[in-house]
């Protein structure tokens, strides 16, 4: 899971593993929590939101920033060839733009938009409780 998350993040925000400035000294006693650590934890919750992951599949779903949500899936096809798919959902003032491999761009509507709302809501509630120890009902919640 960790390796895959690193790969997804490298694709999206770049790879900082070679950066000396980001390297924590080996004798550092209390490793500093980073945003990437939190994203990794959130993504673990996100990947489990949609029920069982099919055998041979790996999934990531997380909120990259306030206006970007990422869905990434990897699997092997019937010939054993590794496949992967990354979908980015971008929040725009007039709707949610879905960006898929290609790239292809499309504002989502109808059932797909409803499903994304439900997924982001579950994600928000679960992440708020389990990672940030906040009650999503009492912490500032988005107006509906």
């Amino acid at each position: 899971m960790s390796k895959m998350f690193h790969k997804v993040m490298s694709l999206i925000v770049g790879d900082d593993s070679q950066s000396n400035t980001m390297r924590v000294p080996k004798n550092h006693s209390t490793p500093k929590l980073t945003e990437r650590d939190l994203l990794r934890q959130e993504s673990k919750i996100g990947s489990e939101l949609f029920g069982p992951i099919p055998k041979g599949h790996r999934r990531e779903f997380f909120c990259l920033d306030e206006s970007t949500w990422i869905w990434h899936e990897e699997w092997k096809d019937e010939k054993g060839v590794e496949r992967q798919s990354t979908t980015r959902y971008e929040v725009h003032p007039n709707g949610i733009l879905k960006v898929t491999d290609g790239p292809r761009y499309q504002f989502i509507e109808g059932e797909e938009l409803d499903n994304l709302v439900a997924a982001t809501r579950f994600y928000y509630e679960k992440v708020a409780r389990e990672i940030y120890s906040r009650d999503p009902q009492t912490s500032p919640a988005p107006a509906v």
């Binding site: 500093k32 929590l33 980073t34 945003e35 939190l38 959130e42 909120c63 920033d65 306030e66 206006s67 970007t68 949500w69 959902y89 929040v91 725009h92 003032p93 007039n94 709707g95 949610i96 509507e109 938009l113 409803d114 994304l116 709302v117 982001t120 809501r121 994600y123 928000y124 992440v127 708020a128 990672i131 940030y132 906040r134 912490s139 500032p140 919640a141 988005p142 107006a143 509906v144």
Partner: protein
């Protein structure tokens, strides 16, 4: 009125810097352009009228925003934006606390 070229350039520059829809109509209701100079409209009038039109357009847009009833898509988009925004705040709070 005689209008020097330099003054008209100034008016044209002002208009160019505004949005197309801000360009006002002249006294007869025609959208003004530099030919308005031939009709006796001064650069000062054009600049003032353009400013007035821009203020009016901004006020109209502000009122329309207030009166606008969001569509279901906009409501759902707003919800997703809200979840993302609050996650950002919670993340930042935790990182600040851990620093």
């Amino acid at each position: 009125l005689f209008l020097g070229e330099s003054n008209m350039s100034e008016a044209q520059r002002f208009i160019d810097e505004t949005r197309f829809n801000d360009i006002p109509n002249d006294k007869d209701g025609y959208r003004i352009d530099l030919h308005a100079a031939d009709e006796g409209l001064t650069p000062e009038w054009i600049i003032a009228a353009t400013r007035d039109a821009r203020v009016a357009a901004e006020e109209t847009a502000r009122r329309e925003r207030l009166e606008h009833k969001p569509t279901p898509t906009e409501v759902k988009t707003h919800m997703i934006a809200g979840f993302g925004g609050h996650l950002r705040i919670m993340r930042d709070d935790m990182l600040a606390g851990a620093a």
